[in-house]
Subunit: 349 residues, 2 copies
Amino acid sequence: MTTPGARARVTLLDVAAAAEVDPSTVSRVLRGVNQRVSDDTRERIVRVAAELGYVANANARSLVSSETMTLGLLIPNLASFVYSDVIRGAVTAAREAGYILVVVDASEIGTTSDAFHRMVLEGRVDGLLIASGTVTDTLAEEMLRQSGRCIILNRLIESSQPSIIEDDEAGMRLGVEELIRVGHTRIACLAGPEDVDTSRRRLAGYRGAMTAAGMPVPEDYIVYAGYEESDGYTGMTHLLELQEPPTGVAAVSLASAIGALAACTSAGIRVPDDLSMVAFHDAPIAGFLAPPLTTVSMPLFELGQQATQLLIKLLKGESIPTTSKVTEPSPSLVVRESIAAPRSGPLAV
Amino acid sequence: MTTPGARARVTLLDVAAAAEVDPSTVSRVLRGVNQRVSDDTRERIVRVAAELGYVANANARSLVSSETMTLGLLIPNLASFVYSDVIRGAVTAAREAGYILVVVDASEIGTTSDAFHRMVLEGRVDGLLIASGTVTDTLAEEMLRQSGRCIILNRLIESSQPSIIEDDEAGMRLGVEELIRVGHTRIACLAGPEDVDTSRRRLAGYRGAMTAAGMPVPEDYIVYAGYEESDGYTGMTHLLELQEPPTGVAAVSLASAIGALAACTSAGIRVPDDLSMVAFHDAPIAGFLAPPLTTVSMPLFELGQQATQLLIKLLKGESIPTTSKVTEPSPSLVVRESIAAPRSGPLAV
DNA sequence: CTGTTAGCGCCTTCAG
DNA sequence: CTGAAGGCGCTAACAG
């Protein structure tokens, strides 16, 4: 059995008393500001503080400085493949600037507004990065008005709440262009929800590539499903039942592509022999599927990193663009084995 | 462009002044304690507070109450399949008890001790749940001595630092028993790192099941790889090169099994026709692989939940067992299609 | 180079 | 039922 240790915390005053100096001197020395302190007292203070195991109380410090040096990152779905890179980017940038980054789970609807309240308004963090999908324009407006300490990730918002997005359109275009390049003409898109901005931008990339190549886009070929495996499975099953099924498919997410792959297997369709597939977003697992999936790798680490840098600028009082885009590095195609020329496509004949 | 909003925060004093009462009265009313306040003043205070958009400052409150009502959860690898369930469980339990739960990324070595320092010792959280693998006995000892506000998840530690584990041994046994039940005798284990406690307990489950069935365990059949896809791939490749390759494989993790599946595909080995496989840990993706993977589902949500409840008890001053085990629900087999009777095994002949 | 003096925003006795 | 007073632990002028 363990009973809680209720050791009395040692405070600045304890150190000051033990070192026989004024608390303010201890404060100065321990924080390294105001170097005009004699080496003698400095050493003594440092030594005594170490002996006593003194650790400054963040709450007291925050109360006077009115900054916590911690940032929050709100994530909608920790089970997704993509967020770990965003988080690593954010953690890296935060640490470089002396901040701590904490992740807040917002898997339930309504949590976003709640988290904003408890984290930002109550002063637990200095600012918040919001990757959550549950940001309504109303909420964005409210956040802007009440704090001006939030940045929305990869979602365009009507309000002038600052946001940073990736070039989802260019990314998706890249994948579709590859399908076109090897000779596909009947290309479908397993899209995300119709009303979500991020999903719409990816769809626009699909349309853009098709149009640029002078290819028609039958509305049948656009399936508004979702980001999950099951969505991809259902959507793909639907596509395979079409009069004239596609020979190439671009999926809105890695999970969706995995579901689609399973639907193909169930239907006896071989990838890439009978059908080619490309997925939006890359992750190690893509290389271990059957077949290894060709994907579009997006700069997710950089998204987290740049979003954090932007937020920190904002907190420092610098003004930042209302909407930024991650351009470096640009989306890139990770070629594996899920794309081949169509069996009887133009180039193959 | 956005410039930071520097609205002066409205404080308790502002509300008190506007409502023409003493700050202490406002404090009492807004927190619902001390009901002996006239309905008249109560209403007035609540109304004024709302009008002014008053939100209590968490730091000031923490300073006097010396509790933050927030808990931290340290995670080693956010990209893993398993942690999202643990997090959801912890968030749920925390919310029920009125706490906020924040997740801290500890993907780098050394981060654990750093996070403990900045989160617990500096008083940013009241307690910490540690799922990180980088907890040495020394660190555990230090944490125990300095705070007594941490709980280790699924890792046995030499010190008397409280911890909570799952029955990894029973879980793995369950998977291996299924392999045995359908007739396999040559069963291998794609294990994790040899020196990690969690991995060792799973391995013990494998050995236990084998021994109980009176089957030999050739050391060749135990591959100490790791938890990732690439580890499973390498390990499986190695197993397939053996003189007498196994007909059944139990993998230490879902990712490892996915890698192993890929290795089989590369080698032209069909699952489950030529080889059966079972993975430790379940996730939706397992149902969309080729073939859909039979897995052992562990009570991860409950691990997060119970760990949090334990931590809260500890913080309240109640004493808790040094080591607990999640027993409800017990591990369960999720039967899909990766296990079949061996081609020429005892039962098949 | 170091001590003195005021708070930061809130809670909590203790009086009245 | 409500006000007055003091303090949580630390920082930030301002004196000396």
